[in-house]
C-alpha cells in the first residue's frame, strides 16, 4: 500500500501480456508530457486539456453462478480550444501525435464557428493543490484470482445452504485525472476504489438482504462479514406482512440515509437558488443564513475526509477545500462555480460532492430500543424528484424492512413507497448515530438516523 502520488507499480494482471504500457493508468509524467504536447499543437488563443485514464476490473455473480467478468482500460483526452470567447471541446482516445493533432484542429475548427460564450472567464492560471493520498496498490494490482476467491466467500455458503440464492458484484477502479492549459495550469490526481455489493435471497422468494462496502483500499474490505450480514438479513426478512401505509417513525440505516439525504446536494447550487427555482430560493433571494433544519444537522464536504478520499481539484482545476454547507441546521453557503462566483461577488467553492452528514452519539440499537412503534429501513430504491421546489422525492424501501415494536424488531414487513423530502425529515429528527462510508454510490459519509412522521403512501408486493 502506498498513498503517495509517485509512479504506479506494474499492474500484475497485465504483466503476462507484455503490453503493460498500453494498459496501465497514466502517470503524472506521462500526463504532463501528453498535455504539453497537446498545448504545443494549439493555434488557438487559449487551450485546455483534460485527461481521464482508468482501468476497471470487475466480477459478477448471480443465481449462485459466475456470470460476466472483465477488465477495461482506456484513456481519453479532452481538448478545449478558445478564440476570444468562442470555445468548443473535442474528446478522443487516440494518444498518438496524429490523434492529438486531429483533436486540436477539430476543436479549433468548431470553436471558430461557435457563438461567443459570455460566461468564459479565461484560463485558470497555475494553482497549488494539497495532494490527497487516495491510491492503493492493493486495489490497482488486484488479480482475477483475488476476485474469484472473494466471490467464493458468498457463493460457497449459499450453495451449501440450500435455502439461499446470492448475486453480487466486485468492482475495482484505478484512475487518474490530469488537467492543464496554455496559462500554465497543471493538476494530477490518481485514486483507487474497491466496491462490493451482495444480495442474498431466500429460495421461497419472500426474503432479501443487501449489504455493500466500499473503500479506496481493497485490503480493508471484509468479504466474509458481508456474506454473513446479507444472509442473516435475507433470512430475517422472510414472510413479510402488510401493514397500513401512513406516517411512521422510521430508523434509516446509513445506506438509506445516503439514498435520500444526498438529494440535497443538487439544491445547493447557488445559481438555481439565485434564479428562484430551487428549494433554497425565497422571494428576492436565497435562504442562506436561515435555520432550515434541526440544529443537529451539519452537512459538509472535504476531499481529505479520511473515510472518503476525494480529489484535490474540481473539473475546472480549482482547488477543492473543506466546505460546510449546513451547520447546526443553518444554511451556511451555496456552491459557486467560477463564473457565478465572480458574477455574484462570491468565492468559488467547488461542487457539493462527497457529502458528510455529521454523526451523533446514538446507535441503531439505541434508536430501536427507544421506539415504541416504528419501521427500520435497510435501503431505498428508485428515488426520483417529484417536486424540485420542495425536494419531495418518491421511492421505495428494499432488501430488509422491519416493524419495530416496544423497543424491539418485531417482524419483517412488506416494502413501502414514500413521498417525502429530506428537508422535512431532517426537521423531524429523533436521533443520529455514527457516520460511516456508504457504498451505494456517490462517495457519501452518512449516519443512521431516526425521524418521526415519515410519509409512506402505498404498499409494494416486491421482495
Amino acid at each position: 500500500m502506498s498513498g503517495d502520488l509517485g509512479t504506479p507499480r506494474r499492474l500484475r494482471d497485465f504483466s503476462v501480456h507484455g503490453v503493460l504500457a498500453a494498459n496501465s493508468v497514466i502517470t503524472r509524467e506521462e500526463a504532463q508530457s501528453l498535455i504539453e504536447r497537446t498545448v504545443r499543437l494549439s493555434k488557438a488563443d487559449a487551450v485546455s486539456v483534460s485527461v481521464q485514464s482508468g482501468r476497471e476490473t470487475n466480477l459478477r455473480f448471480a443465481d449462485n453462478q459466475m456470470t460476466t467478468s472483465g477488465a477495461t482500460t482506456n484513456t481519453t483526452i479532452r481538448v478545449q480550444s478558445v478564440f476570444g470567447k468562442r470555445k468548443a471541446s473535442v474528446v478522443t482516445n487516440d494518444r498518438t501525435d496524429a490523434g492529438l493533432r486531429r483533436a486540436v484542429e477539430q476543436s479549433e475548427a468548431i470553436a471558430k464557428l461557435a457563438p461567443e460564450d459570455p460566461e468564459y472567464l479565461g484560463e485558470l492560471p497555475a494553482q497549488t493543490y494539497e495532494p490527497v493520498p487516495a491510491w492503493f496498490d492493493a486495489t490497482a494490482e488486484l488479480s482475477a484470482d483475488d476476485r474469484a476467491k472473494a466471490a467464493l466467500t458468498a457463493l460457497a455458503p449459499a450453495r451449501s445452504a440450500n435455502d439461499l440464492t446470492v448475486a453480487g458484484y466486485i468492482v475495482c477502479n484505478a484512475s487518474a485525472t490530469a488537467l492543464g492549459n496554455s496559462a500554465g495550469l497543471f493538476a494530477y490526481h490518481r485514486s483507487t476504489n474497491a466496491n462490493y455489493s451482495l444480495t442474498a435471497r431466500t429460495n421461497d422468494g419472500t426474503g432479501s438482504g443487501w449489504v455493500a462496502i466500499e473503500d479506496n483500499d481493497w485490503t480493508r474490505l471484509d468479504f466474509n462479514a458481508v456474506a454473513t450480514a446479507a444472509i442473516d438479513k435475507a433470512r430475517r426478512s422472510r414472510n413479510p406482512v402488510a401493514i397500513e401505509p401512513g406516517r411512521y417513525t422510521v430508523i434509516f440505516e446509513p445506506e438509506a440515509t445516503a439514498n435520500i439525504v444526498s438529494s440535497i446536494s443538487g439544491a445547493l447550487q447557488a445559481r438555481s437558488a439565485d434564479e428562484g427555482r430551487s428549494a433554497f430560493s425565497k422571494t428576492g433571494g436565497t435562504k442562506v443564513g436561515e435555520k432550515i433544519l434541526d440544529e443537529r444537522v451539519t452537512l459538509s464536504s472535504d476531499p481529505r475526509d479520511p473515510l472518503v478520499l476525494g480529489s484535490p481539484f474540481d473539473g475546472d482545476g480549482m482547488p477543492v477545500t473543506r466546505q460546510v454547507w449546513i451547520e447546526g441546521g443553518v444554511l451556511k453557503k451555496l456552491a459557486y462555480p467560477r463564473f457565478w462566483a465572480q458574477k455574484q461577488g462570491k468565492s468559488a467553492t467547488g461542487g457539493a460532492n462527497s457529502l458528510r452528514l455529521a454523526g451523533g452519539t446514538d446507535t441503531i440499537e439505541s434508536m430501536i430500543a427507544s421506539t415504541e412503534r416504528g419501521i427500520l429501513v435497510t435501503r431505498l430504491w428508485y428515488l426520483r424528484a417529484v417536486d424540485q421546489r420542495t425536494l419531495v422525492y418518491t421511492g421505495l424501501t428494499r432488501d430488509g424492512t422491519f416493524l419495530v415494536e416496544n423497543g424491539k424488531i418485531a417482524r419483517s414487513i412488506k416494502n413501502f413507497r414514500f413521498n417525502d423530502s429530506p428537508l422535512f425529515m431532517l426537521n423531524n429528527l429523533e436521533g443520529i448515530g455514527a457516520a460511516v462510508r456508504t457504498a451505494g454510490g456517490g462517495s457519501l459519509v452518512m449516519p443512521p438516523i431516526k425521524v418521526r412522521d415519515f410519509n409512506f403512501t402505498s404498499l409494494s408486493d416486491a421482495v
Partner: protein, 542 residues
C-alpha cells in the same frame, strides 16, 4: 507498442482506401457544404478492421477459448447545449477500441483495450481468457449458447438520410437559439434550456462461428425545457418535448422546434395557474409521450429474462413475472385487446439494429399476446432456458437478438429491444378517447417516474395534466401523479387508440447491469384509457 499509424502501415491498407471506407479513420468534419447533397458512403467491413478482429479471435482460441467474439467500435457523440441566448457547451467526442469476450470451459471472460494493434487486441484476448480461467474455481454451471446462423459478410445501416456529423455547428446553434427566442417571447417565461445530442456508432463484430458484421448506427435527440415563473410559482415544460429517434438530422428538422417553441412556452406559462388535483380515482388517458415510459418500466423491464432468472437481483432487481414455468401462457396482464411486441425492426426506433452483439439477426416476438404473457426478451445464453416453452409451442428455440453493449469497452448482456403496444382494431384518436370520457385526466409528456425492483408498484407524473369533464378538456391540473400495481393497472385498460395515433417514445439512457450500461430504446404505442386509477397530489409547502 505499435501506434495506430504503424497498424495502418503493417496492415497494408493505404490511407486512400480507408478514407472511402466505413470511416474507421478519423477525419475532421467538413463544414459549409449542404448536407442534403452528400450521399451516404456504402457500409462495408474495412479489411484492416477485419484483420484485427481475426487476430483477436485467433489469440482467444490459442489461449484456450472454446468460443469467442470481438467488437471493434468507433463511438462518436456530438452535443450542443444552450440556455436563453447563449451556447453553454459544444462537445464532440470520438473514441475507438476493441472488446473481446471468450468462453473457456463454460466460463465467461472479457477484456477491452483502446490499443487497435495486433498486440493490443491479442493482449485483450489473452486477458479475457485469463479472467475466464481464474473464474473456473467459482464456477458451478457451464454457459451454453443457443445455436445461431453465421453471417460471414453482413452489413446494416440505420434509417437516417442526413448524417448529423456533417451538419455545421452554425446550423445546430441557429436552430436552438431561434427556438429559445420563440419560447422567450411568451409572457412569464423566464428560462429556456435546449440541446442537441447525436450519436454515431460504427459497430464491427466477429465471432468464432464465422460471422463478420459491420453496422452504421445513428441516433438523435433534440430537447427543450421552458421554465415559467410568476407570483412565487415555478412551472416547467420539457425537456423531453420531442422524442429521440434512431434517425439523423432530417428528424430534427421534422420536429420543427422553432415552430413549436412558443406553444411549449405557453403550456409552461398556463401551468402557473393550474388547479391542484383533488386526490381520488380517475379515468386516465395517457398520451404516447407519457405512456411509453409506463410500458418501459412496468412491462418491458420485468420481461427481460435475465431479471426473471435473478441475474439482476443485486442491482436493477428481479421480476414479478417469475418463474417462467408458472407465468408463460397463463399470466393475464391485460384485456384481450392488449398485444405487446418485442422487436429491433421498427424503422426509426432506437433499439432497431440489423444484428445484435451475439451476432444474431433479431426477430419480432409477442411478449404479450391477447392479454396473456407469451415470451421473454433473450440472448443466445438465455434462449436455452426456455427450450421447454418453445418446444411446447412448436417453435425452434432461438435467441430474440437482445444482446447489447453500450460500447466496445463494455461486455454485452441482455438489453431491451423496442417493446411496443400494438394499436387497437378501431382507428380511434386522442380526441376520440377524450370525447368518450366523462371524468378523467389526460396526461402528456414524461415526468417523475419510480418503480419497485420487481415492477409491481409504480408512480408516474406527467409534464402536462388536463382535467376532462363531460368529454372535454377544461383546464390544466398540477401536482398530479398516479400510483399503480402493474397487473391491476394494465387490466384496467379499456380503450386503445388506433394505428393513426401510434407514436414512439424513448430514451438514450436506460440503465441496467453492473457495471451500469446505458441502452437506447423506443416504445411505440397509441394513446390508451385506463379506468378508475388512483391519483395522488404531490404538492407540499416548505
Amino acid at each position: 507498442m505499435t501506434s495506430r499509424r504503424d497498424f495502418l502501415k503493417t496492415s497494408g491498407v493505404s490511407l486512400g482506401a480507408l478514407a472511402v471506407g466505413p470511416e474507421l479513420l478519423r477525419a475532421a468534419p467538413a463544414f459549409g457544404s449542404h448536407p442534403l447533397l452528400r450521399p451516404l458512403p456504402p457500409v462495408y467491413t474495412d479489411p484492416a478492421t477485419r484483420e484485427l478482429m481475426m487476430e483477436a479471435l485467433d489469440a482467444a482460441k490459442r489461449a484456450g477459448a472454446s468460443w469467442a467474439d470481438v467488437r471493434i467500435g468507433r463511438n462518436r457523440n456530438n452535443s450542443v447545449n444552450t440556455r436563453e441566448q447563449q451556447v453553454t457547451n459544444v462537445v464532440e467526442s470520438d473514441t475507438m477500441g476493441c472488446g473481446v469476450r471468450v468462453l473457456v470451459d463454460g466460463c465467461w471472460g472479457f477484456s477491452a483495450t483502446q490499443e487497435l494493434t495486433k498486440a493490443g487486441v491479442g493482449g485483450a484476448a489473452q486477458e479475457a481468457a485469463a479472467i475466464a480461467k481464474a473464474n473456473r474455481v467459482a464456477m458451478d454451471r457451464r454457459v451454453t449458447l443457443a445455436p445461431a446462423p453465421a453471417h460471414p459478410n453482413a452489413t446494416w445501416r440505420s434509417a437516417y438520410t442526413i448524417d448529423p456529423f456533417t451538419v455545421s455547428l452554425e446550423d445546430k446553434v441557429g436552430l436552438l437559439l431561434t427556438a429559445n427566442a420563440e419560447a422567450q417571447k411568451v409572457r412569464n417565461v423566464r428560462f429556456v434550456n435546449s440541446g442537441l445530442s447525436f450519436v454515431k456508432e460504427e459497430r464491427n463484430y466477429a465471432n468464432t462461428d464465422g460471422s463478420v458484421i459491420t453496422q452504421d448506427y445513428v441516433r438523435s435527440w433534440v430537447t427543450l425545457s421552458v421554465t415559467a415563473q410568476a407570483n412565487g410559482e415555478v412551472a416547467v415544460r420539457g425537456p423531453e418535448v420531442v422524442q429521440p429517434a434512431g434517425r439523423g438530422w432530417e428528424y430534427v428538422l421534422e420536429a420543427d422546434v422553432v415552430g413549436n417553441a412558443a406553444k411549449w412556452g405557453e403550456e409552461a406559462a398556463e401551468k402557473l395557474t393550474a388547479k391542484p388535483v383533488d386526490v381520488g380515482r380517475y379515468d386516465l388517458i395517457l398520451h404516447p409521450s407519457q405512456l411509453f415510459l409506463t410500458i418501459h418500466e412496468s412491462l418491458a423491464h420485468p420481461t427481460e429474462l435475465d431479471r426473471v432468472m435473478g441475474y439482476e437481483a443485486n442491482y436493477a432487481g428481479t421480476s414479478f413475472m417469475a418463474p417462467p414455468e408458472k407465468v408463460l401462457g397463463s399470466l393475464k396482464l391485460g384485456p384481450p385487446m392488449m398485444n405487446l411486441v418485442g422487436n429491433r425492426s421498427e424503422v426509426g426506433a432506437l433499439a432497431t439494429i440489423g444484428y445484435d452483439d451475439d451476432g444474431v439477426q433479431p426477430d419480432d416476438f409477442h411478449i404479450v399476446k391477447d392479454g396473456i404473457l407469451n415470451d421473454f426478451q433473450t440472448t443466445r445464453e438465455q434462449a436455452p432456458l426456455l427450450d421447454w416453452w418453445y418446444t411446447k409451442n412448436g417453435q425452434q428455440p432461438r435467441s430474440h437478438g437482445c444482446s447489447y453493449a453500450q460500447s466496445w469497452a463494455d461486455v454485452q448482456f441482455q438489453r431491451m429491444p423496442n417493446v411496443s403496444l400494438q394499436p387497437g382494431a378501431q382507428d380511434l384518436s386522442w380526441n376520440d378517447l377524450i370525447s368518450a370520457t366523462d371524468r378523467g385526466i389526460a396526461m402528456i409528456g414524461r415526468s417523475s417516474y419510480s418503480i419497485d425492483q420487481q415492477r409491481y408498484n409504480a408512480q408516474f407524473g406527467a409534464q402536462l395534466c388536463y382535467e376532462i369533464k363531460g368529454g372535454k378538456i377544461v383546464g390544466q391540473l398540477k401536482d398530479v401523479a398516479y400510483q399503480m400495481r402493474t397487473p391491476d393497472f394494465w387490466n384496467a385498460m379499456d380503450m386503445l387508440g388506433g394505428k393513426s395515433s401510434y407514436e414512439f417514445g424513448g430514451t438514450f439512457n436506460d440503465g441496467k447491469g453492473q457495471p451500469s450500461q446505458a441502452n437506447a430504446v423506443s416504445h411505440g404505442c397509441p394513446p390508451v384509457r385506463f379506468k378508475n386509477i388512483n391519483v395522488i397530489n404531490t404538492g407540499r409547502a416548505l
